[in-house]
């Protein structure tokens, strides 16, 4: 299950469209970091609206993606964590404290535009 990655100006948007296996998540991590380098992107939005479950592996992979992208001087925003998925994550003891999150794609884009407007 390939995750489409859309280039939108200085941002990249990865939209997860179905439940992902561990291998799919690792592939996404590699694809994102390569594109951030190639396009000199300033930010990445990962839309997880379609993710049925965010278990420890998925959360850790998303954290790692955010950390790698930060090392490239870019920002990551996770958008679309479903309420029941958020509930399960908290029960499981997972935190994404180090990663920016937003309600949905629109909010994520608004957050980034605001952030980069202040910089420019």
């Amino acid at each position: 299950m390939e995750v489409p990655i859309l280039k939108q100006g200085e941002f990249l948007i990865a939209t997860i469209q179905a439940a992902l296996s561990d291998a799919d998540l690792e592939h996404l991590r590699m694809a994102l970091i390569q594109r951030v380098v190639r396009f000199r992107s300033r930010a990445v939005i990962v839309d997880v609206t379609a993710m049925d479950v965010m278990d420890s592996f998925a959360s850790r992979t998303l954290k790692e993606i955010a950390q790698m992208i930060r090392l490239r001087g870019a920002e990551t925003v996770i958008v679309g964590i479903q309420p029941e998925v958020a509930f399960a994550m908290v029960q499981l003891g997972i935190t994404l404290e180090t990663v920016a999150t937003a309600l949905d794609l629109e909010e994520g884009l608004a957050y980034l535009s605001q952030k980069f407007k202040n910089l420019n």
Binding site: A19, L20, S21, D22, A23, D52, V53, M54, D55, S56, F57, R60, Q82, P83, E84, V85, F87, A88, M89, Q91, L92, G93, I94
Partner: protein, 139 residues
């Protein structure tokens, strides 16, 4: 007393997704809310991942439960892997021997209502968890 039972062989990370999707379907069919179905699917994901990570292969059994008026779901994760030497330690948050998170088991225990584990070095591991539908007053 399980009424319907289904087995999912766990041999790869792809099977983790399959097992949790089957679990979610069974939970929904058993009348669980979508929040509970997600908790159950997450627990299955963690249990199946432990199998792949530590034992390479094993099995997840899913069964609907009916106990008097109560309905629930039972998940059994079993493998013939290396087993766990110190179960108490494995149930502590933050403990892991695989360099992973290590919050699998304590997290699963929080997600579910009942949790039993039996394991010994060289004997494999069996984890049984249950969740009951929330018709009774909240604990």
């Amino acid at each position: 007393m399980p009424d319907e039972e289904s087995r999912v062989a766990i041999n790869s990370d792809q099977d983790i997704v399959l097992a949790r999707q089957k679990g979610r379907t069974l939970a929904a069919d058993s009348g669980f809310s979508s929040v509970d179905a997600t908790l159950i699917a997450t627990a299955i994901s963690e249990l199946a991942r432990n199998i792949v990570t530590y034992a390479k292969r094993g099995e997840i059994t899913l069964a609907g439960l009916a106990d008097g008026g109560r309905r629930g779901i039972m998940i059994v994760a079993s493998d013939q892997g290396p087993g766990i030497a110190d179960i108490r330690q494995a149930l502590r948050d933050g403990f892991s021997t695989s360099g992973s998170f290590g919050l699998g088991l304590p997290g699963v225990r929080r997600l579910m209502d009942e949790f039993e584990i039996s394991s010994a070095p060289g004997q494999g591991t069996k984890v049984m968890v249950k969740k009951w539908r929330q018709e009774r007053p909240e604990k």
